[in-house]
Amino acid sequence: MTNGIVFDIKEFALNDGPGIRVTVFLKGCPLTCKWCHNPESQKHQPETNQKTNRLCGKIYTPSELAEHLRQFQDVFAFSEGGITFSGGEPTLQADFLMETLSLLTDIHTTLDTCGYCESSKFLKIAQAVNLVYFDLKLADDTLHQKYTGMSNRLILENLKMLDEHNIPLHIRIPLIPTITDTADNLNGLFNIIKSLKHSPIRIDLLPYNICAGGKYENYGMTYELTTIPNEPNQTSVQHFYEQLTQNNFNVMKG
């Protein structure tokens, strides 16, 4: 059995899939997006919140976690909800995740992922859940490396792979002012989405959380995006939205 590290479990999570859901946040992420609003999710190991002195990150066995989640089985059943695995990047703890999922096969599960994961593992996980929320951030690889610390090549390959296996998919795009909301980037993302064989169930445009920087200090980190505007570029976003809807994509503005 593989243990996992969880940094939060949120009950009644509203933006993470259908029905009433519980979202499990697994600790650790291969990316370091500059706009990340959960800086405590980036490192895999537990760490102390310097402000509250409370430890962030709790170790679970797959059966402990499954048992904890199963207590809400009744609410999942009648609300057609379920469990969402988010992070950090849940696939970073692939073995733990797979073992936990194998104990929850009767419950609707969603994977919320950045897509950065070794492909064979990624496919297995995606096939083990009922729905994938796949984040797309920057189309240009250089910019992707600049703002997330990693190349987007693997991410895009994985997206293509899921598409080929016809995995039920939502694509989520964070609209970060001056970074992901530029006309160039949104155009690039449009081309990526357009190239998919299967239309995603939905494309979610996620607004930037202006409180994103709030938690950095608590973990001895620095938030760099202090000078970007609060609101994304309305013109380019509106154009992108129209582009998508005109091509019959189901879009949700968050």
Binding site: I9, E11, I20, V22, Q71, D74, V75, F78, G81, G254
Partner: protein, 696 residues
């Protein structure tokens, strides 16, 4: 949304402009009464008559529902010695006028005051008993006085060139209401007249039921459209926000003007939801006013769209609707001795206490048991024995203390209701029995709150766990730390707060102790009940969440508790009704609902809601309303009793404390009622703020 006219009326009310018509009454009536050899029934009728005669009728040309209270004060109409002479003097007995109950307005709407007066007069002919004659005469003269005030309004309306209102007062409240509009005017006028009779905290009961026949008929016959009905209802609601500063309560806003919607029909238990249920919710949502406070009775079959409409109202941040689960409440009332038909007709008193309109004269808020105190004193006593701690003794002592607390509330604050002949008209069988409702109503039970249950259970489990892991020496350390208010024991305190099981996290150990405390309370309530006066144990806190921790609150004899074994510091408020202790890490709202489902609500039945503060972001998300409605269904499914959902941003409250002048109309839920935040005493402001800092 609403017409310009209504917007103006709403502003007029919110700016308290109605106050400009007010004058004082001098106390010469009191002198008159001093000489008269009147009993209380007569005094009550006398003061209502005087109030009706001195009230000025104010009618505006463009309003469609009239009444403004113009007399600031109700003069003294009795002295303690009058009460003593009539009712005798007994230690611990406290007399109060009609309050915290619900008249049955259906009696008014279907009969009209004229017919009710005739009934009174016919009963009068049948009796030879002096006390009955006095009572019936007093009822008749009260009705007459109210009708004369209505006549005054009729004339004032003519002078104001408001034919519509003049016509209304020609018909109601004298005759049965024939239209929806007449029904609303009759209720506005008579409910205000009841306040003139020195009653307070009177609820409106099941408004969507007793108004529905009028509404349905008007719609069917094409007299009004749904939109017109909505406009009238809105004006009626605005009118209920006038004069409320004159109504008695612990704080501004605590005026008991509650409305119950939904639920089932008394006769057969089938769904009572109708279009008016929806319409009233819609109006409340559009107006965003404090009064009336909306309650919604729900069960497993409540339509989704009704729940979603309720959630839309929750979104407004007024702190209502408050939900009650019929599947739990009705059987509990039956078990307590209420007839099934009456139980199906329940409403709530000023806050959350389940009562029967026109049949219940219960004192639902006679006092509060402090669970944290019971646990604390038992712990102290157990530790007096050297080197041994006995869990069974500990539990016995807790129960024993709860019993002592209840006994004290029964004997030291035995609240009796003084007669009110006019209010008696709206209580069943009062006229037929020729007795004031305070002396002959069907139900006369006592409600006692169970306050601070989360802190109590958290302290209890912390003591048990400490004993389990660290033995007697661990308990000694805990006792010392607690009594030092955790000064020098900060690490232990953090440990108690972070590592101990807590109520609200669906933790079996903590929840079992919660259940234990309430079971003790229910047992005690049964033991101390008698046939005529049963004790209704409840789960509410009301103002006791601050009263029970403040040694300066000397007017409440309930025991005050200092720091507790759960890590709560001395002076820190208890959590409200059913809510996790302040400042602890809570897993989330699903766990909270699960935790509280362990309580045996068939015995803990005085009411007291699970109280959840939600972040406003709930409503910014996809399907937020729909999901919140599902959450409420989950509340029903796990067998909980009552639920209050509050939505507010803590930063808004902080800003309102700093700049009250900019936030005069900010409304918050204080306990069983909503009030203007800036009009609350600082201690309540702080409590509300602290709750909203821990949204789920």
């Amino acid at each position: 949304m609403f017409s310009e006219r209504l917007t103006q009326l709403r502003d007029f009310t919110q700016q308290r402009q109605y106050q400009q018509f007010r004058t004082e009454i001098d106390n010469h009536y009191t002198k008159l009464l001093d000489k008269a050899d009147y009993n209380f029934v007569q005094r009550s009728a006398f003061i209502l008559k005087e109030m009706c005669q001195t009230e000025d009728a104010v009618v505006f040309p463009d309003e469609r529902i009239s009444f403004i209270r113009t007399k600031q004060n109700i003069p003294f109409y009795f002295k303690p010695k009058n009460i003593e002479k009539e009712f005798g003097k007994k230690k611990g007995v406290v007399y109060d006028t009609f309050h915290n109950i619900c008249p049955d307005y259906e009696i008014l709407l279907t009969n009209g005051l004229e017919k009710l007066r005739e009934e009174v007069l016919s009963e009068r002919k049948k009796t030879k008993k002096r006390s009955e004659k006095i009572f019936l005469d007093s009822v008749a003269s009260s009705i007459l006085a109210v009708l004369q005030l209505a006549e005054k309004y009729h004339k004032a309306a003519l002078i104001a060139n408001n034919q519509e209102v003049a016509d209304l007062f020609n018909r109601v409240p004298r005759y049965p209401a024939q239209t929806f509009h007449e029904g609303l005017q009759a209720i506005r006028f008579v409910s205000a007249a009841l306040y003139l009779a020195d009653t307070y905290q009177l609820g409106f009961g099941r408004m969507d039921q007793y108004l529905y026949p009028l509404y349905e008929n008007d719609i069917k016959t094409g007299k009004i459209s749904r939109e017109e009905a909505k406009e009238l209802l809105a004006e009626f609601f605005i009118s209920l926000n006038k004069d409320t500063d004159l109504y008695r309560g612990v704080q501004q806003g605590d005026n008991g003007q509650s409305v119950m919607l939904g639920g089932c029909k008394p006769a057969d238990g089938t769904s009572a939801v109708n279009d008016l249920t929806y319409l009233i919710l819609e109006v409340s949502k559009d107006l965003k006013l404090i009064d009336p406070k909306i309650n919604l009775r729900i069960d497993s079959n409540t339509p989704d769209d009704l729940l979603e409409l309720g959630c839309e109202l929750t979104k407004c941040g007024l702190g209502f609707p408050q939900y009650s689960n019929d599947e739990v409440v009705i059987p509990a009332l039956v078990k307590k001795g209420y007839s099934l038909e009456d139980a199906r007709n329940y409403t709530v008193a000023a806050c959350w206490e389940f009562i029967i309109p026109g049949k219940g004269m219960e004192v639902v808020n006679q006092g509060a048991v402090s669970f944290p105190y019971a646990v604390d004193i038992a712990f102290e006593k157990c530790m007096q024995k050297n080197n041994s701690f006995n869990i069974d003794t500990f539990r016995k002592l807790i129960k024993q203390n709860i019993k002592e607390q209840v006994k004290k509330i029964i004997s030291n604050r035995d609240i009796r209701t003084l007669p009110c002949p006019f209010a008696s008209v709206f209580f069943h069988d009062s006229i037929q029995q020729r007795k004031d409702a305070s002396q002959c109503a069907k139900y006369n039970n006592i409600g006692i709150h169970g306050a601070g249950s989360a802190n109590g259970a958290d302290a209890l489990i912390a003591i048990l766990k400490t004993f389990e892991t660290k033995g007697f020496s661990g308990l000694k350390e805990l006792l010392t730390a607690k009594n030092a208010n955790f000064k020098g024991y900060e690490k232990l305190r953090t440990y108690l707060q972070d590592e101990m099981p807590k109520v609200g996290n669906a933790d079996t150990d903590a929840d079992n102790e919660l259940k234990f405390l309430f079971d003790c309370f229910a047992d005690v309530a049964d033991e101390l009940s008698n046939k005529h006066k049963k004790i209704r144990a409840g789960s509410g806190s009301a103002m006791f969440y601050v009263w029970l921790v403040d040694p300066n609150m000397t007017w409440a004899f309930e025991p005050k508790v200092n720091a507790t074994a759960d890590g709560r510091l001395s002076g820190e408020a208890l959590s409200t009704s059913l809510a996790p202790s302040h400042g602890i890490k809570v897993n989330g709202v699903l766990s909270v609902l699960k935790s509280y489902s362990v309580i045996d609500y068939s015995r803990i039945m005085n009411g007291g809601p699970i109280t959840i503060e939600l972040s406003p972001s709930v409503f910014h998300s996809e399907d937020g309303i729909k999901k919140l409605a599902q959450l409420i269904k989950y509340f029903v499914k796990v067998g909980n009793q009552q639920l209050q959902l509050n939505v507010l941003d803590a930063s808004v409250l902080e800003e309102a404390i700093a700049h009250p002048e900019k936030h005069r109309n900010l409304i918050v839920r204080v306990w069983g009622w909503s009030g203007y935040f800036t009009e609350l005493a600082p201690v309540y402001q702080q409590h509300v703020l602290n709750r909203h800092k821990y949204t789920l």
